[in-house]
Symmetry: C2
Subunit: 602 residues, 2 copies
C-alpha cells in the first residue's frame, strides 16, 4: 500500500472552513488553550506520529499478528510496544482528558482529529488506545471518587489501558442473556466468574496493567437486562501506592482467529473468581454502559472513515501510475505505452465514490464531535440539549452508514487495482479485511438501525430528527438563491422533507405492527445516511464556491470539492430511491414467508 499521508488539508477544511471550529473553541468553556496555533501544531505532530511511527507497522502487524503463550500472555506484533511507548511519552493519551487526572484538558474534538489519523495509519494498533477511551469515560461518569483517583491517572497517562467485556459465547446483541456472575465479598469487592469473548485488546504486552470493565450479574439480580451490573476488574490489583500489584484471577484463554485486524489481540477472557469492584448502581449496568457504547460507536464510525480514506489514497496512487489501455476519447499520454487508468470513466467512478464517502464522512464525524464538545462543556442548557439530540440521532447513522460505506470504499479501492488488489503486498486487501469487522462489532448495522428509528427517532416522537432536519432546512432556505449550489439545494430540500414524511409513515405503521419498523430499519438508516451526507456535501460545495469566488491559490482543491459534490448528488444520492422503495414494501415482503419455506426441504 502506498505511504499513508494524513489528510491535514481536508481536516482543516472541515474543521475551520466548513464547521467553524475556531469560533467554536473560542466560545467553548475550558477550551482557552485550543488556540488556532496550538491546534495546528498538535495536528501536525499527530500527523507525523501517524505517518512515521504507526503507518509503517500496519502491513507487518497484519502479517505477524499476535501470539499467545501457554500461560495466557500475549505478544503484539514487532514495533507495536515501542510505538505505544512513544505515544505515552508524547502525552497523547491525556490530550483531551481532565487536568484533574493529569490530562491536558483540550477539547475532545481535538482528540478525535488525532484519533482519525492514528486509526487511518494503523487501525489494529489504534484499538489498544481506543478501548481505553471508553473505560476512562465510564469511570469518569460512574466511578466513586476513590475509583477515579486510583484508575484515571494511570489510564490518562496511558501507563494502563482499558477494555470493555460485554459479549459471551451465547449472547452478543442480546445482553439480557449474559451469565457472568459477581459474588459480593465481605470487604465490599466481588468475585467475578465467567467467560467473555471478542475482547479487543483484552491482553497484550504494551502497558503495565489492563483495566477491564465487565458486565456481570449479582446473585439476586432480576433476569434480563435489568439485572446487569458493571465492574472494574483489573489485570493487576492496584496496591497501596496505586501501582499494579497482585495478579488478578483472569486470563486470556485464547486468541480468536479472525479475518482481519490481526495486529489487535481479540481475546477470550476467562474470569475465575477474579476480584472486581462495582461501578455505578447495582443492576443499572446497562445504563452505565451506554456511556461506554456511545464512545465506542463514534470510534467505530471513525473506522469506517479510516478505511474509506485509505481506499481513496491507495486507489488514487495506483490510478495515476498504472498504465493500461487508451482513453476512450483518444490517447492522453501518447508518449507512454498506455494511458494511466485514471483516464477511464469507470475508474473515476470508483475514485470519486471513495472520495465522496471519505470526505463526506469526515464532515459528519467532525460535526458530531463539535456537538460532543458542546454537550459536555457548554454552559447553555438549551445548546447542550440540542447537541445531545443531534448526537443521539447522528451516532447510529455515523456508526451504521459510515462503516457500510467505508466497506464499500475499501471494496472499490481494491477493485481499482484489478487482480493486484487481491495480493497482500499492496495492502488493499488488508484494508478490506480490517474494514469488515466495523459493521459487526459495537452493534451490527441492524442494531444501529433499530436504535436509530426505534429508540432515537420514534422514541423521541421525531424530536431528535427535527433537531437535524431543522438545520438542513435552514441551510436550504438560506441558499435557495445561491446560484453556485442551487441545484444541490433543491434536491436536498426535497429529500429533507421526504425524510420527515417517510418517518411519519413508518411511525404510523409501527403502531399497528412493530415489525413494520423492523422491516424498514436498515433501509431507513442507509436512506438517512445518504441524505445526511448530501447536506454536508452541499455545504462543502457552498464553502468551496465562496472561496473560488473570493480568489484563492488553491483552485484545484476547491474545484475538486465542487465536482465531488456534483458527483455525489448525481450518482450516489439516487440510491435513496431504492431504499425508499424497499421501506415502502412493508413487512409482508419479509415476514410472509414461513421459516419452513426458505429451504427446499423446509
Amino acid at each position: 500500500m502506498p505511504d499513508y499521508k494524513a489528510p491535514l488539508r481536508d481536516i482543516r477544511f472541515v474543521r475551520d472552513e466548513l464547521l467553524g471550529y475556531e469560533d467554536h473553541y473560542a466560545n467553548l468553556p475550558g477550551a482557552e488553550d485550543a488556540t488556532p496555533d496550538m491546534v495546528k501544531a498538535i495536528l501536525e505532530e499527530g500527523a507525523k506520529f501517524a505517518e512515521q511511527v504507526l503507518a509503517p507497522l500496519n502491513l507487518s502487524g497484519d502479517q505477524e499478528g499476535c501470539t499467545r503463550t501457554d500461560d495466557g500472555e500475549v505478544r503484539t506484533p514487532k514495533g507495536f510496544k515501542e510505538a505505544y511507548q512513544q505515544y505515552v511519552e508524547g502525552g497523547w493519551p491525556g490530550l483531551s482528558q481532565s487536568p484533574e487526572h493529569g490530562g491536558q484538558g483540550l477539547p475532545e474534538s481535538l482528540g478525535l482529529s488525532i484519533g482519525e489519523m492514528i486509526g487511518q495509519a494503523n487501525w489494529s494498533w489504534s484499538m489498544y488506545q481506543g478501548l481505553s477511551q471508553g473505560a476512562k469515560r465510564t469511570i469518569n461518569a460512574h466511578g466513586t471518587e476513590v475509583q477515579q483517583q486510583v484508575y484515571l491517572p494511570k489510564l490518562v497517562s496511558g501507563e494502563w489501558t482499558g477494555t470493555m467485556c460485554l459479549t459471551e459465547p451465547h449472547c452478543g446483541s442480546d445482553l439480557g442473556m449474559l451469565r457472568t456472575k459477581a459474588e459480593p465479598q465481605a470487604d465490599g469487592s466481588y468475585r467475578i466468574s465467567g467467560t467473555k469473548i471478542f475482547i479487543s485488546s483484552g491482553e497484550h504486552d504494551m502497558a503495565e496493567n489492563i483495566v477491564h470493565i465487565v458486565l456481570a450479574r449479582l446473585p439476586d439480580a432480576p433476569a434480563g437486562t435489568k439485572g446487569i451490573s458493571l465492574f472494574i476488574v483489573p489485570k493487576f490489583l492496584p496496591d497501596a501506592n496505586g501501582e499494579a500489584g497482585e495478579r488478578n484471577a483472569l486470563v486470556c484463554g485464547a486468541l480468536e482467529h479472525k479475518m482481519g485486524i490481526h495486529g489487535n489481540a481479540t481475546c477470550v477472557m476467562n474470569f475465575d473468581s477474579a476480584t472486581g469492584f462495582l461501578i455505578g448502581p447495582p443492576n443499572k449496568g446497562l445504563n452505565c454502559m451506554f456511556t461506554f457504547m456511545n464512545v465506542a460507536r463514534i470510534g467505530t464510525a471513525m473506522q469506517g472513515l479510516a478505511h474509506a480514506e485509505r481506499a481513496f489514497q491507495g486507489a488514487m496512487s495506483y490510478a495515476r501510475e498504472r498504465l493500461q489501455m487508451r482513453s476512450l476519447s483518444g490517447p492522453k499520454h501518447p508518449e507512454k505505452p498506455a494511458d494511466p487508468i485514471i483516464v477511464h470513466p469507470d475508474v473515476r467512478r470508483m475514485l470519486l465514490t471513495t472520495k465522496a464517502f471519505a470526505e463526506g464522512g469526515r464532515a459528519l464525524m467532525y460535526f458530531c464531535s463539535k456537538q460532543s464538545d458542546i454537550a459536555s462543556r457548554s454552559n447553555d442548557e438549551a445548546q447542550r440539549q440540542e447537541a445531545e439530540s443531534l448526537l443521539a440521532l447522528l451516532t447510529p447513522i455515523a456508526k451504521g452508514f459510515l462503516t457500510e460505506t467505508g466497506f464499500e470504499a475499501a471494496y472499490l479501492g481494491m477493485q481499482v487495482y484489478g487482480g493486484h488488489g487481491y495480493i497482500a503486498e499492496w495492502g488493499m486487501e488488508q484494508n478490506l479485511r480490517d474494514a469488515r469487522i466495523s459493521t459487526l462489532y459495537e452493534g451490527t448495522t441492524g442494531i444501529q438501525a433499530l436504535d436509530l428509528i426505534g429508540r432515537k427517532v420514534l422514541g423521541s416522537q421525531g424530536e431528535t430528527l427535527k433537531a437535524f432536519t431543522r438545520i438542513v432546512h435552514r441551510f436550504c432556505k438560506a441558499n435557495a438563491e445561491n446560484e453556485a449550489v442551487a441545484d444541490l439545494v433543491k434536491q436536498l430540500a426535497t429529500l429533507n422533507k421526504e425524510w420527515g414524511e417517510v418517518t411519519m409513515k413508518l411511525g404510523m405503521a409501527g403502531m399497528q405492527n412493530p415489525e413494520e419498523v423492523g422491516a424498514a430499519a436498515v433501509d431507513y438508516l442507509m436512506y438517512a445516511g445518504y441524505v445526511t451526507l448530501a447536506y454536508f456535501w452541499a455545504d462543502s460545495a457552498r464553502v468551496a464556491a465562496e472561496k473560488l469566488a473570493a480568489g484563492t491559490s488553491e483552485e484545484n482543491f476547491y474545484r475538486g470539492k465542487l465536482h465531488t459534490a456534483k458527483f455525489y448528488f448525481q450518482r450516489i444520492l439516487p440510491r435513496t430511491r431504492s431504499h425508499l422503495a424497499a421501506m415502502e414494501a412493508g413487512r409482508g415482503s419479509l415476514m410472509d414467508i414461513e421459516e419452513g419455506e426458505f429451504l427446499a426441504e423446509g
Copy 2:
C-alpha cells in the same frame, strides 16, 4: 461453516421445471444418453462427491494453503491430491467431452451442473479441474489434428491439467502490451521466454503434467493486440508414446500471497526458452483466446453463484439456531431463552437477498448453459445463431452481475452471524475472501461492462439485446392476465421496455462521445443484471403458482419461490432506479474533474 448440501432440489427445479431440460436433451443431437434417469443418477453421484469428498477439505485447504519448494515444486493442501485421484477415477473430467478423445459425450450443461456443486463445495479445489476446461476447448477448437491427439486424451481423462497464461506484471486488461517472446525453431517449435503472473493452478502435485496455454509474440509480430499468438507449452514435453517426457524450461517462480482461494496455487510462471507449439494462426491469438475466455467467464459467473449459495446455506443454518432477543411481534418460542434470529425482519432481509441471488443466479446460469448446448450441437442454423446471440449478451452479465451479487451475498451471509462471522472457524469469512477475487479475474466488472454495452449490445446494433428482450416480451405478453404473476409481469414489462430505451439513448450519446458509454457501463451492467434476474424470478413464480394450483406435496418449496419472487421485485429490483439515474448523469459527473483536482495537493 455448516456442512455443504448440494442444492439438488433447486437444480432440478431450474433444469426441469423452469427450463425444460428433459425436452431440451430429447431434441439435442448427440444427447441421446442423457435420459432423465441417467441425468438424475449423475447429479446424485456428483452431489455425493461434492458433499463428502470436497466440502470437508474447504476450510482446511484455506488454512493450510499451498507451499512451494526452492526448486519450484508446489504442494497442494492435504487431501487435495487424493480427491483429484477420485475425481479422475470417477471419470468426471470427461463427462461432457467428445467420445473421440475418451469422453462420455454428455451435454455440456450437465457438466456445468456438476461444476456448480464442485465449485460450491470447494472453490479452490475446483479451479484445478476448471482451468483444464478452457485448455480443452482451445485445443479442440484451434489445435491441429496431431495436437488434439497428443493433448486431448490426457486432458479428457484428467491425467493432465491445463492453465491459461495471459497476464504479465505490467499488463492485465490491456493484453496488447504483453512482452513474452516466441522464437521459431528449425523443427517448427518455438522458444517461449517471459514472465506470467496470477497463473491459477500453474504448478501443483495433483496431475502428471500441466499444459499451459500461453500468449506470446512472434519476432515479426505487429505491435498491440494484433501481434499476439497462442502456444501450447507443456510442463513435460510429450514423448513418442504420448506420455509426459522431458521437463520443459518453465518453472513456478513464486506463489502469490493473496486474500483468499488459498487452496489454489496462484503462480508466477517463468518461461526461460521453454519449448512451445503454435496453436491457431500466427498473430490471431487473441481471437483464439476468446474460446478460452468465454468458458472462463461462465466459470467465474458460476463462482458468484457458488458464494451466494454457500452464504445462503450458512446464514440459514445459523439464523435458525442462534437465539437472540424476542420477535418484535411477541415471543415465538417462549420455551427458549430467546427466539432464533430468523424471526427478526432484518435477518430475513439478508437471508432473502442471498436466496434471491443464489436461486435467480442459478436460473440464469442454466439458461446460459442450455444456449451453450444449442450453440454447439443444434442442427438448426437459426437456433444456433439465436443461442450465440443470447450467450454473447448474457456472458458478461452473468460474469459481472453474478460475481458482484455473489460478493454481496457473501457479505450478508457473514453479517447474519454478527461478530462470529468474522471468526475463521465458521467459514463465512473464507466465503467472503474467496468471493472477492471473482469480480477481478477473467476481466474485472468494468471490463465486462464495456464488453456488454460496447462490443455486444451497441456493437451488434442492439441485436443481441433484442434476442433476450424478445423472450422477456413474449413471456410478459403470455402472462399479462395470469393472476398469480400479473403484478410481477407488469413491472417486468415496463423495465424490459425501459432497458431498450436507455440502450438507445446511450448509443446515441456514445456516437457523440464514447466516454458517455464508458461512464454508464457498470451501472448499465448492474441494471441489465437486475432486469435479467427479474425475468427468471417472474418465470419461477409462474411455475411455482402452476404447481401449487395443480396440487403438490411440496407446498413449502413452491410457496418459498413465490415469496422470494415477491421479495425480489419489491426490495431488490428498485435498485434499477439508482442505476438508471447514475447512467443518465452522463460523462460530466465523472470526466469534468481534472486529475489535479482529486487530491488536496493536486
